[in-house]
């Protein structure tokens, strides 16, 4: 089994290194093919591992020691259990699709080889993240995906900085740095959590840590839980560290699909699921997580309502769905969170790849107000995005329905009706903005003609590559029971109480109703043509929403600018004027006193004698003082 683990893990790395060798040469199709094939190998190995875990049980492998110091002994250890196996399959499946897709999407890009190198490196890091059997190994992957994300967001590094009005993300390089730094803030929290674990458990291996949860004090567990969650908040872009995710859309669209929808951003959810013995012991932190998740769900959905940027809308919806996952995990329904994670990965990747097709057709235009009526020229893409949007909206019988509905049931079951209500409302908003996007893009009047675009469908193999995702987006939910049975071998099972069982039918109907309601509103508003109301667009709520609650501006003004100014002060005022000036001042005092006393040395012997007499006098005084003292 070790061979399978290593195959699954290292195939993407090999692909990445292979592509890196050609990184500086112009496009060679070979790199795309080879990395895609290796990814497929990794996918197959993951599926085999999943089967093995299903049939036999978790497997474990230790490669070698990594850090050995004091009592710290951290190996490169990998364990594949139920959760990991599911994550691996999801990651490798989506990655394989995205790799094949990218062969078409990046066809004309100068950095073709470089792109595949980064992309495969990302998959490797993500696999390290999910497969590691200890917290520090997870941290390797955690930082690794951060760097790959930095590289990929900043892939078109040569674009110049724009003002926020022209481009809300300023520039790819800027967005990349923002993402990296935001994640670093969270990583510090995670590191602190790791230190806490180390000094209280003496080990970072999952099994040992979780085995000793019972012996740790409650306060300590809360501290660890909170610090680990801070790490998760950064990676999963939870409020207030959420701004980077929307800006990360500066990266090529396959990247958005893979990293910023399906895999990396779910790492935070994965961490909470992975640390479920810890979080089960501290339900109050869990409740806090659920509240944060719920808040982010509606907060992000509200921003998606008015946005005009195709990719940003999907990014906000990702944020919103991550909120759902955290709500589920926080409420103790870990397997539901994982289920939604997997389902979301499929339909959100599909949605992004569809958006990529549209962008391709529209020559990188992202404004949905400039599109419309595209279903005529892009039938396949329309179908894919339609399916994905339906799944996202949670319409029966697609995947999203099963997963999202279960989360709502959980919220109801926990008697946290506030959370349930907000999530329920968000479901309606989700349906509305998803179909606003679909109708504005594919239905209504053909506005793109005014702007001189000539849209066309993408290559056939690209469309075929997207098919598995579309199929899974439809059918994945049907396996809910099997999925639950499988992962609850590791995760705690979640039982609905009697009351909820009674209400189940009502809940489903209510949820479906608001989802369909959202779609109907979108249909009425946008299916014919783009209706714009300048009055509403000028109104304050609209402006707040379309400017992301002014949070990026606020961060700029409250943190970035003052930090830059403070740095400038620290350098020019403090370092130069105070610290260095003190040092130079001391030197100057010595120098000037030397210069002054040099005047004694005027060559006049008579004056010398006077000084000598004065010196003798001082010595005499000293002698007297000494004599008097003794």
């Amino acid at each position: 089994m070790e061979t399978l683990i290593y195959t699954a893990l290292f195939a993407p790395l090999v692909g990445s290194l292979f592509a890196a060798m050609f990184g500086m040469s112009p496009k060679t199709l070979l790199t795309g093919v080879v990395t895609s094939l290796l990814l497929f190998v990794s996918f197959v190995a993951s599926v085999l591992l999943l089967q093995h875990v299903m049939a036999v049980g978790p497997v474990h492998a230790t490669l070698m020691d990594w850090i050995v110091a004091g009592d710290m002994r951290i190996p490169f250890g990998f364990s594949v259990d139920e959760v990991t196996a599911v994550m691996m399959v999801v990651v490798t499946l989506v990655s394989t699709v995205v790799h094949i897709y990218s062969n078409g999407y990046m066809e004309h890009d100068k950095g073709f080889n470089r792109f595949f190198s980064y992309l495969s490196a990302f998959v490797f890091s993500m696999l390290v993240l999910v497969m590691s059997d200890n917290f520090l190994g997870l941290f390797i992957g955690w930082e690794g995906v951060g760097v790959c994300s930095w590289l990929l967001i900043g892939f078109w590094y040569h674009r110049k900085d724009e003002s926020r009005d022209v481009n809300p993300s300023i520039s790819p390089a800027w967005a990349a740095n923002e993402a990296f730094i935001m994640n670093r803030i969270a990583d510090l929290g995670m590191l602190i959590g790791i230190f806490l674990i180390y000094w209280n458990v003496g080990s970072l291996q999952y099994d040992q840590v979780f085995a000793s949860v019972g012996q740790m004090s409650h306060g300590l567990l809360v501290a660890i839980g909170i610090f680990l969650f801070i790490g998760a908040m950064g990676k999963s872009a939870q409020f207030p560290l959420h701004t980077w995710l929307a800006d990360a859309m500066e990266g090529p669209t396959p990247v958005s699909a893979l990293i910023h929808a399906a895999t990396m951003v779910t790492a935070g959810v994965y961490l909470v699921i992975r640390a479920h013995p810890l979080y089960s012991a501290i339900p109050e932190v869990g409740y806090f997580i659920a509240v944060v998740g719920t808040f982010v769900a509606i907060f992000a959905a509200s921003m998606a309502l008015v946005n005009r940027d195709l990719k940003r809308i999907i990014a906000y919806s990702t944020l919103s769905q991550l909120g759902y996952m955290f709500a589920a995990a926080g409420l103790g329904a870990y397997w539901v969170a994982l289920f939604h994670l997997a389902a979301h990965a499929f339909f959100k990747a599909l949605l992004f790849l569809g958006a990529g097709n549209v962008m391709h057709a529209m020559h990188d235009e992202l404004d949905i107000f400039k599109m419309g009526g595209l279903k005529k020229v892009m039938g396949w893409t329309y179908a894919y995005m339609g399916i994905a949007s339906l799944a996202l909206a949670g319409i029966w019988p697609l995947a999203g329905f099963y997963s999202k509905d279960t989360i709502l049931e959980v919220a109801f079951n926990e008697h946290t009706y506030g959370i349930w209500f907000v999530l329920w409302l968000t479901a309606g908003l989700t349906a509305f903005y998803s179909f606003r996007l679909v109708f504005l893009t594919f239905w209504s009047d053909e506005r793109y003609k005014e702007y001189g675009f000539h849209p066309h469908e993408v290559q056939k193999y690209v469309l075929w590559a997207m098919a598995p995702l579309a199929i899974l987006a439809v059918i994945f939910g049907w396996w809910k029971e099997e999925f639950m049975a499988f992962v609850t071998r590791l995760l705690p099972a979640y039982e609905m109480n009697e009351h909820t069982h009674h209400m189940l039918g009502v809940l489903i109907v209510v949820t479906l109703a608001i989802a369909i309601g959202g779609i109907v509103v979108a249909y009425l508003m946008y299916h014919k043509r783009l209706r714009r109301n300048p009055k509403i667009e000028a109104s304050l709520p609209y402006r707040i929403l379309s400017n992301q609650y002014y949070i990026p501006v606020f961060y700029d003004k409250a943190f970035a600018k003052p930090y830059a100014e403070l740095s400038d002060i620290a350098w020019k005022e403090i370092d130069m004027q105070v610290v260095d000036a003190t040092v130079d001042g001391i030197a100057k005092i010595v120098e000037e006193s030397g210069d002054e006393s040099r005047k004694m040395q005027n060559g006049n012997l008579s004056d010398y004698l006077k000084w000598m007499a004065a010196g003798a006098l001082i010595l005499a005084v000293l002698a007297l003082v000494a004599a008097l003292k003794s």
Binding site: M64, L136, I140, N177, R184, L188, F195, G202, V579
Partner: protein, 508 residues
Amino acid sequence: MENILSVLIFFPLVAALLGFVVRKESIRVYGLTVAAIEFLLTLWLWFAFDPNNAGFQFIEYIPLVSDFGINYYLGVDGISLFLVVMTGLITLIGIIGLGDVKRLKNMILSLLVLETAMVGVFVSLDAIVFYLFWEFSLVPMLYIIGYWGGERRLYAAIKFFLYTFTGSLIMLVGMLYVAYIYQSVAGVWSFSITDWYALVLPISVQKWLFWAFFIGFAIKVPMFPFHTWLPYAHGQAPTIGSVILAAVLLKMGTYGFVRFSLPMFPDASVAYILPVAVLAIIMIIYTAMVAYAQEDMKQVIAYSSISHMGVIILGTFAMNAEGITGSIFLMLSHGIVSGALFLLVGVIYDRRHTKLMSEFGGLAAVMPKYAVIFGIMLMASVGLPLTIGFVGEYLSLAGFFRISPIMTLLGGTSIILGAIYMLSLYKKSFFGPVTKEENKKLTDLNGRELAALVPLVAIVIWLGVYPKPVLVPIDNSVKALVTFMEEKAQTPEAKAIIHVSTSTKEAK
């Protein structure tokens, strides 16, 4: 090869003296050969070193002034071994990467003399011999900055010299006082560090001596607020000078803490954890901010050096094996990474004769290889896992966490602030469109530069993925050191704070 350490010390010196008769045309090859042989010798030292022996090895002992207990006393343990190896490596890399400078012969000979001094510092076990090499190392560096430096080279060189010299004089007074106490206790003079270790000093005396040594080391490190000589020295020094200054000379200060302060004054070291840690944290945060404000690439890296040295100090004063091992590893990794970064800045300076970030932009498109290597070093500098920078930083912070979680949190901002200034440097210089006409014609790294940088990249990744061969010898010696400190400590508070690894306890 019983006297390998003497060979290591004096081979470069003798070679430098012989070098005066070497012809100008062949001096580069000569310097390379000497540095390569020296590096191979250090490697041999590493392989002959017994990693399971925590004590000093390859000991040499020749009485010099026996009346005053001054001896030519050398030895290495796990703590100093890799600093010696790194000295050999960095000197070699530096000479490989040496561009065309005026008076090349003098430069290479100075470097070889400097190597003698640096190796001498790390292997001396006699305080006077240590001090001699410590001060001797200033002279070639003074010459290198003062002769090959930038416009204000004399100011920078003299500032560097006087500042560090002042500090080490105070340290010398401390050394003499320790020897004096030793004489009054034992009846004979001795400057042997191992003899001093055995000396149990009263706590009040320890406290004074701690500060005397502290000033000497802190200026060298350089710790806030004694750091202002460093930006000038780096700003004015030629590339090779900065490389060696950052990679090796600064490590002499932190090495001094581990070699002298901790084992000799365990109680005082524990008692002063708070002020030292506060200085270290100020150093980390404040210099990171100053680094962010810089306009000159080299100054960013110079200030980032100071910031990273703060983490090393935190690790050193963690008083447990994790932290101290981490800090020593971080010394190595910072040496390699900052050395490489200075070399990289030197590359661009050679081409454009400016280091201002505003002069660049979009370099990634023009010089892809350069951008890749710079990117790798940048990631190592910000402490990315699986690069060399992470291991030491992680261990140092983890170790200090046991002392104070809050201060570790503050010190840990290093990973955020480091990312901020390094990424903004990278963005300003490498990303964006190519705006300046003269940047469009820049040539990528040539063979010589690649030969200097690629080995460093390999080491950065190798020791990031598999640091064990280096960590184990360090760890063994550090565990012994910590156990020794715990036994020697007098106050119960100190005994409580110094944390002996459980594995060591079990071994007993």
